[in-house]
């Protein structure tokens, strides 16, 4: 991708850029958390107030989607959401690189989600019951088929989580880079500065239009996409976890013989 995008300004030798800028995200989040929790007061002010608002929002979202049971998973979900949101917003600062615009970072987040929701499901229901729920409420003859299909669909989940975040971020970067740098700065402004009269008129006007379009429309669009993708990642994480928990009751209801043994 170095063909189009400028490499970030600050680089550590021998360390990939996305790792360096993941450290920047970690430092920012740690600093905010430290400032917010250093002097906790009953009536929150400043950073403590801000973080309380953010966490209460996430908690409300969890209550809406997963019900009261979901509050146990607030640390996982809020950490993922804050990390991805900060990383997405970091890629919008000129001269910085976004960690989420690299496949390794997004794959790491998606694999954490994948393994943790299976772990939560197995712990909640036990391994045998959890495996049984892959077969779904279908007749016995269809169960092996259903099992294979469910396994494939579960394996597709981390893939789609990874590629969605990565593709959105990289697509936005390439769009910004092409329209701002290639079309605007290199193309039209370069034409305006080349000294020819039509170049100065057309290139100057076109360059100004291009820069206003980028700063006024594409940049806020990228801001929206950053927040939306973090929200969607967190939302899908919550849906996967609640699916792994809730299947217990659902399975008992659909198998009357099994359920009556308990009652």
């Amino acid at each position: 991708m170095d063909v189009i995008e400028h490499p970030p300004i600050f680089r550590l030798p021998g360390i990939p850029d996305h790792v360096t800028y993941t450290w920047v995200v970690m430092i920012v989040l740690t600093a905010i958390a430290y400032t917010a929790s250093r002097n906790v007061q009953l009536v929150p002010r400043g950073w403590q107030n801000f973080m309380e608002v953010v966490l209460v929002q996430i908690q409300t979202l969890i209550d809406d989607v997963m019900g009261p049971e979901g509050r146990r998973y607030l640390p996982l979900i809020a950490t993922l959401g804050l990390f991805i949101l900060t990383a997405n917003l970091e890629s919008l600062i000129p001269g910085f690189a976004g960690p989420t615009a690299n496949l390794n970072t997004t794959a790491a987040c998606a694999l954490i989600v994948f393994f943790s929701y299976h772990y939560i499901g197995i712990r909640k229901q036990g391994p045998i019951a959890y495996l049984k729920h892959f077969m779904g409420p279908v007749p016995l003859a269809l169960k092996p088929l259903m099992f294979v299909i469910e396994i494939i669909s579960h394996l597709a989940r981390p893939l789609s989580l990874t590629l969605r975040l990565f593709g959105n971020m990289v697509g936005g970067h390439i769009l910004l880079a092409i329209i701002f740098f290639l079309m605007g700065l290199h193309g039209l402004i370069g034409w305006a500065l080349s000294g020819s009269v039509p170049g100065a008129i057309v290139g100057g006007l076109g360059g100004i239009v291009m820069i206003v379009f980028t700063v006024g429309f594409l940049y806020p669009l990228k801001l929206l996409v950053s927040v939306l993708q973090a929200f969607i990642f967190v939302m899908l994480t919550m849906l996967y976890i609640s699916g792994a928990i809730e299947e217990a009751e659902h399975g008992h209801d659909s198998a009357p013989g099994h359920g009556s043994a308990h009652h």
Partner: protein, 109 residues
């Protein structure tokens, strides 16, 4: 009309072969897949974006219809709509990733 379209498409699709013939004459050892990969990446992204727009338009139309009928449930409908849009959009994102692999990585020379 349709025949001229077919001829245009054929001419468009043979252009990389001509370019390959020229580069091959110049002694360049690169294969013919590279130029086709660029064309395919562009067309794939165009089809994916168009069809994804159709699908997302249907989803948003239905969601707005439902929100207008039941304003009380607007928040829940909006959440479901955003998740659905993300799932639809991820199909176009797959094509974007494939296009980027064709453009930047070029595993098949």
């Amino acid at each position: 009309m349709r025949r001229s379209l077919v001829f245009t498409a054929m001419a468009l699709l043979t252009t990389p072969a001509l370019a390959y013939a020229q580069t091959a004459a110049a002694g360049d050892a690169r294969g013919w897949i590279g130029p086709y990969a660029v064309i395919v990446a562009g067309f794939a992204m165009a089809f994916a974006a168009g069809l994804c727009g159709l699908g997302q338009g249907r989803a948003v139309a239905a969601a707005v219809d439902a929100m207008a009928r039941q304003p009380g449930a607007a928040a829940r409908i909006q959440t479901a709509m955003i998740i659905g849009l993300a799932l639809i959009e991820s199909l176009a994102i797959y094509v974007l990733v494939v296009a980027m692999i064709l453009l930047f990585v070029q595993p098949i020379k």
